[in-house]
Symmetry: C2
Subunit: 229 residues, 2 copies
Amino acid sequence: MTRTYAQMCLVARAMDVLGERWTLLIIRELGLGPRRFSDMLDGLPGIGTNLLSARLKHLEHHDVVTRIPLGGPGHSHAYQLTERGEAITPILAGLAQWGAGLEAPPTDYADRTRWALFAMRAGAAEAGAVFDTVTELVVGEETFWMYGDGTQNQLRVGPAPVRPGLRLSCSRATLHALAAHRVSVAAAAASGDLTVDGDIDTATAFFAVFALPETAADVAKPRRGKKRR
Amino acid sequence: MTRTYAQMCLVARAMDVLGERWTLLIIRELGLGPRRFSDMLDGLPGIGTNLLSARLKHLEHHDVVTRIPLGGPGHSHAYQLTERGEAITPILAGLAQWGAGLEAPPTDYADRTRWALFAMRAGAAEAGAVFDTVTELVVGEETFWMYGDGTQNQLRVGPAPVRPGLRLSCSRATLHALAAHRVSVAAAAASGDLTVDGDIDTATAFFAVFALPETAADVAKPRRGKKRR
DNA sequence: CGGTATCCGCAAAGATACTG
DNA sequence: CAGTATCTTTGCGGATACCG
């Protein structure tokens, strides 16, 4: 270990393991299932390969992350959260919830669809809601799938490995609008912004569970009537 | 703002505000009520006055902390969490809960009674339990008081401002033993390690609610039968 | 592809002296 | 008591070179 707080306090000891820069964001990336080194670089713009490598070793040493072989072309492998690593998810959800209260960020910040999905799941976790139907989302070029494992909702990158009970297809902007409840599923489906493959009531229920926390921007600029004149 | 992740992700944006070294520990200290600069130094051994000063300014700027005047001798003042700052408490509780799973720290780490109380409260928060009776704790030279505010349990430094419904007095070691359920209230009271001023059943209920999360040390070395031979 | 290693410039952290 | 100022040390960011 490098720099420690040297306190018995459990918060301090957790921060001794998780408190270095990038560490929690690395765990966020792995919260969407096993990922390869280069996949993670995409979700951590600016990290530098040396730091990512050092952090992963550190987390592996503290039983937060494991390397798993990836039977494919070449001797490649991926990183995966351990059980103890998965236990960090509620903390990340809490941070996302709290972060929703901050003022709107500069528009040039990096954005990924999976981060919005992560925040949506945080909203569901806060409410203690579990969505049972296996759902596949196609947002732009990317595909995700979500399912309730009985206790909480899981979120994974890639196509669903089983036939999903619900399939939604839209742009990232429409996803945001639906999750923030600025537009209804019926309206988005009618306008063609959203394609629903399955029961439309189930789709409505999906966005009732996976609601984006109200942002400070929503509070500051409450939209009434028409928008953008 | 200085170093930012420049991501739209709500977790990253929360970490932009809270992620610097010492920041969450400062909030931990303020979670026990308003504190003066020098009080905080005691709970943050090794921080350096410049860093504490810089962090407090930063947190004040982001509406996590406010300065409040302290009508007393001299022109002194204290720092206090804002509503948004208080909202970070569940995140700290989650970190404490997670930190309990780590292996036992070196024995030369700094220790404070309030950190143990903080972890006990985290255990109660996890279980969703609220303890209504205003309780005063005298541990060694220090006095604390706790109360349920309807939603969650609050923890404060100093003597209770109202007559407490329960008053407990013991050493820090006994507090740990009681909270970890290694010894019962009845046994501790009988041996004189614990003084109960109030109903003994209420005292038992207190330690049922404020249980210390099981540590990795407890799991690794399960005590069976007699202890310390 | 999947990293590790090294170097440099800079910003943040640590330590301590000093001031209102 | 409540900080500010200053100096040193460490960690991070970014680039690039290298290896299985």
